[in-house]
Symmetry: C2
Subunit: 231 residues, 2 copies
């Protein structure tokens, strides 16, 4: 591997659980609409609404909640009641208040790495929600830089590296999304370590197989990172 | 005035119109609920919901839309129909799609200042919405730094100045909100120019009168800034 000086981490489903919370909300959402439509129709329509609104809302719980309400009205042809919409609002607020549960090995690995590397956090989503999760996580002190961005593509990473005077050859990105954490970083010539999470939101799925010998790695969990870095 | 090297601008209601868009939406909101409650009750309840949710949602159109739906259900005791909630969703999307209208003098003043000072943008709100407005404004090229933050208090400004190696004595903040743009900046020892907007959201109102001779200025419009800076 190239000589890494800076390691950046994705947050949701890399450092702490996130998709599992959405998945539980999806289950309750399907139950709420079970009188009207089968699971597949509910899932497909909600996802279509989310994609249609993504450019406007961006990522995060607030946009998801708005799309869930819009979809519920559409799928019930306006028959859904205000009480059920209130439930969706409450569910969104419960997601924002949800405790942060770190993934295995995170609590031990980050302090060890912070002694030897400069650590950054690069995440997308609601600004305040991500800041709150970082505070709740107890990990804030290990990061020299925190970037909450609206999209994680080649241009985003290039701008962050330039702003922080960091060459791609010195940079390793660690995350669970091939699409957002791995492919754009490899495209810049940097290193990337993929740590798959058990669930992946449809929008983050990628079938592209990274071709970057010596720069792309797959880990079972974050605890394998020090071994990869020979430390 | 101190020797200013960096000028930072607030965005909403400093560079472009914003509160007027919320005000028009408020008018339609009052009409929607006019069957149930008088204007004062609607306004008071919506504002109370917004404040209660501010810590959770942060600033911006998405949080406002969620609070407006919650308030409408509360004020109608669940009698509001799905069609009316759909209208609120559409109104929120229309706000996000709204064209950016620059305030007078902004288009001519920023390029002139950008030749002589380092210009920054410091704004709060939805990440993606603020980025989109900045792109639509055509002003992006004049800013050397763009900071979209979840709160504008003393700690926020201190962190930005430190990160960008800028002393308070070199810094001038320009904005329409005494609470968010002026008072915290004066507290750090920097300069601040207040450019009042015709409308101010209740949450941004302040009765505190800045006491900072030689560091606090009030302007009628942004076109007065070059004169203040003797350029």
């Amino acid at each position: 591997m190239q000589h890494v000086r800076v390691i950046a981490f994705d947050a949701d489903d890399t450092l702490w659980h996130n998709e599992i919370i959405f998945e539980r909300v999806h289950e309750r959402y399907r139950e709420l609409l079970a009188h009207y439509h089968d699971t597949a129709t509910v899932d497909r329509t909600l996802y279509a609404t989310e994609l249609r609104n993504l450019e406007l809302y961006g990522y995060g719980v607030k946009g998801f909640t708005l799309s869930a309400i819009e979809t519920a009205i559409e799928l019930t042809e306006g028959k859904i009641g205000a009480e059920e919409i209130r439930l969706l609002l409450q569910q969104g607020q419960a997601m924002l208040r949800h405790p942060v549960e770190l993934l295995d090995h995170v609590a031990a690995t980050l302090p060890a790495l912070a002694d030897r590397f400069e650590l950054w956090l690069i995440t997308k989503g609601d600004l305040r929600d991500q800041e709150r999760k970082l505070e709740k996580s107890g990990l804030r002190e290990y990061f020299r830089a925190v970037e909450i961005v609206s999209e994680k593509d080649d241009a985003t990473y290039a701008a962050i590296l330039e702003k922080r005077n960091t060459k791609p050859a010195e940079f390793l990105m660690v995350g669970n999304s091939l699409k957002s954490d791995i492919l754009p970083v490899l495209a810049l010539g940097a290193c990337a370590a993929h740590v798959p999470y058990s669930l992946t939101w449809e929008h983050e799925r990628s079938t592209a197989l990274p071709e970057a010998p010596g720069r792309f790695f797959t880990l079972t969990h974050l605890g394998e990172l020090p071994v990869l870095l020979n430390c």
